[in-house]
């Protein structure tokens, strides 16, 4: 899975902290960025570097919403369902997006291009409704804008 290639980076991460166990979250981020999700091997690799039991890593992976335990789409969409977004009409646009991609919350399109997650507040409330696609926030969403954003992705 190419985790061995990350050993140099892992070493640098571990060295930042007074205690190695503090590197669990950044190591998991690193592995997920590389592989796309957190595999059982990634958990073992994280446990080895941070010197904690694998079960502890598993606890962490299941606690935080950003770690995926199965493959997601090439583009992962977090659609904000915070109060401000609801007030600005995000439900209609969520319905539009679900229909457009023909998937529900937590699902991935058959071509593995997009996955959808209904997210709690992403704190861009001043420009609601909004969604995150991969690293980027997209704000003041309209159906047309959703088409443009998704259409511009490979």
């Amino acid at each position: 899975m190419g985790l061995a290639n990350l050993d140099n980076e892992a070493q640098k991460i571990v060295a930042k902290y007074e205690e190695k166990r503090a590197s669990v979250l950044p190591l998991l981020h690193l592995a997920q960025d590389k592989i796309g999700y957190v595999t059982p091997e990634a958990m073992e690799w994280t446990a080895k570097w941070s010197e904690v039991p694998v079960v502890h890593v598993r606890e962490v992976v299941t606690f935080y919403s950003m770690y995926h335990q199965k493959p997601v789409g090439r583009h992962h969409i977090r659609f904000c369902m915070g109060t401000s977004c609801v007030l600005r009409g995000c439900e209609t646009q969520l319905a539009y997006l679900k229909k457009k991609l023909n998937i529900q919350d937590g699902e991935t399109t058959p071509d593995a291009k997009f996955s959808l997650e209904e997210a709690e507040c992403l704190c861009n409330c001043e420009a609601a409704p909004m969604m995150q696609v991969d690293k980027d926030y997209h704000v003041d969403l309209t159906e047309k804008k959703i088409d443009q954003i998704l259409g511009g992705l490979k």
């Binding site: 930042k16 902290y17 007074e18 205690e19 166990r21 503090a22 590197s23 669990v24 979250l25 950044p26 998991l28 981020h29 941070s50 904690v52 502890h56 606890e59 962490v60 606690f63 935080y64 919403s65 950003m66 770690y67 977090r78 369902m81 915070g82 109060t83 401000s84 609801v86 007030l87 600005r88 439900e91 209609t92 969520l94 319905a95 529900q104 919350d105 997210a119 709690e120 507040c121 992403l122 704190c123 861009n124 409330c125 001043e126 420009a127 609601a128 995150q132 690293k135 980027d136 926030y137």
Partner: protein, 429 residues
């Protein structure tokens, strides 16, 4: 207020780059303080400025710093809480993304004041772009010699590690944040001991919010009295108010502490949108109790809002117009808390999920006559019965939405219709 202070660089292009920031005066105050002041003088200034924690709790910052043990042999950690997640709040993102050097300068002065040499910035995982700007700013500050073994050549060492969260609202609670930073689940800790005594890795630790720390250079530059006079007695400075929902001009506005809520809505945010009437306002993030349109004549500061039965919290103002369905708003609020409960304490783990199931039943058109009283009972049994205040925050929307709009809830239950269609929401309960 004459000039913006915290937000002065928000509209300056590339202010996150050190060359631009320094052109605007960044690091001048820190240089002066670290070369010519004593740590006690900084603590005194921050205490006298009446700076209060702007993450939500409003605890006096100087007092928090004073809780550190004297003659302590262990390292002292400064941890910056950049885990912004309170629904309705978007202010810290502006500092992190647009003007991180302001905060780094505040970190240098604050670390010097509390004798800390190691600083962790815990930023929420979803804030990828703000993280990239912040990390670039930290790297540039290192390259300039403003961070590292000898800050400004003074021999005083400060190291900053930027640590990303991974998607958990509870990690904004400071002791949950510490557990998360130590590589575990974000479960809040029992207090006492408070973090100032036993914090990160068992060492004395001060945890301050992004905006709080960003205020520090301005206090040292212009004086404690100047800062105190910007605000109201007991609460100095300005505050970044996030305002969203049904207003014409949602945004982040820097305004003096103690400004009237109605004035923020009318004057700064352009009033209620589409010419509609105001129905309700949440003044300080989803956790704050709701205010009705008749209650918005209130000052926006910690004590005034407490007296009004709610709280300033994170100053995330959410405005609701006359068309807003309170049942729907409670549905999304209970969904949020049920999703984000860390599960450590039974009243919260069970209560948040149970409440959400009942509200889901109501919103699907299957509400029962006793449901509202049941919800109130569940909420009261969560309040003050858990390790952290999350359960209280989960109880307050239930208590206040039903308490202030009970007739609307009763009418909804009697009608037996759903406002949210099954196409939009999965309404299993």
């Amino acid at each position: 207020m004459t000039e913006p202070i915290l937000s002065r660089n928000f509209n300056v292009p590339n202010a996150w780059k050190i060359s631009v920031a320094e052109g605007r005066g960044a690091y001048e105050t820190a240089k002066k303080v670290l070369t010519s002041s004593k740590p006690e003088e900084v603590v005194q200034a921050v205490t006298a400025s009446n700076l209060r924690g702007l993450g939500g709790a409003g605890f006096p910052t100087g007092k928090k710093w004073s809780f550190l043990p004297k003659n302590n042999p262990k390292p002292v950690y400064l941890v910056i809480n950049a885990d912004e997640g309170e629904p309705g709040t978007c202010k810290d993102r502006y500092i992190l993304e647009k003007d991180p050097h302001q905060m780094i300068e505040g970190i240098l002065i604050s670390a010097f004041a509390i004798n800390s040499h190691k600083v962790y910035i815990y930023i929420r995982g979803e804030y990828v772009r703000p993280f990239e700007n912040l990390q670039a700013a930290v790297d540039e500050a290192y390259a300039k010699g403003y961070l590292g073994q000898s800050v400004f050549g003074t021999g005083y060492a400060v190291d900053i590690v930027v640590h990303r969260g991974a998607g958990a609202y509870i990690c904004g609670e400071e002791t949950a944040l510490l557990n998360s930073l130590e590589g575990g689940r974000g479960l809040p800790r029992l207090k006492p001991p408070f973090p100032a005594i036993v914090g990160l890795f068992g060492c004395p630790t001060i945890i301050n919010n992004v905006e709080t720390i960003a205020c520090v250079p301005h206090i040292l530059k212009n004086g404690a009295e100047w800062f105190a006079n910007l605000g109201i007695p007991g609460c100095g400075g300005t505050h970044l108010f996030s305002i969203s929902g049904h207003v014409e001009k949602p945004g982040v506005y820097e305004l003096p502490m103690g400004i009237l809520l109605g004035e923020i809505i009318q004057k700064h945010a352009g009033g209620v949108w589409k010419g509609r009437k105001l129905k309700a306002v949440i003044p300080g993030g989803i956790s704050a109790k709701i205010l009705t349109a008749a209650e918005v004549d209130v000052k926006m500061d910690y004590d005034s809002l407490k007296n009004a039965g709610t709280m300033l919290g994170s100053a995330g103002i959410m405005v609701m117009d006359e068309t807003t369905c309170m049942v729907k708003m409670l549905f999304y609020a209970t969904k949020f808390f049920a999703h984000e409960s860390c599960g450590q304490c039974s009243p919260c783990r069970e209560g948040t999920g149970w409440a959400h199931k009942i509200v889901t039943r109501i919103i699907s058109g299957h509400g029962k006559p006793g449901d509202l009283d049941e919800l109130l009972r569940i909420a009261r049994n969560m309040e003050r019965r858990t390790i952290c205040v999350f359960a209280d925050a989960a109880a307050w929307p239930i208590l206040s939405y039903i308490g202030k709009f009970r007739a609307e809830f009763e009418e909804y239950i009697a009608k037996k219709e759903a406002v949210i269609s099954n196409e939009v929401r999965d309404l299993r309960f």
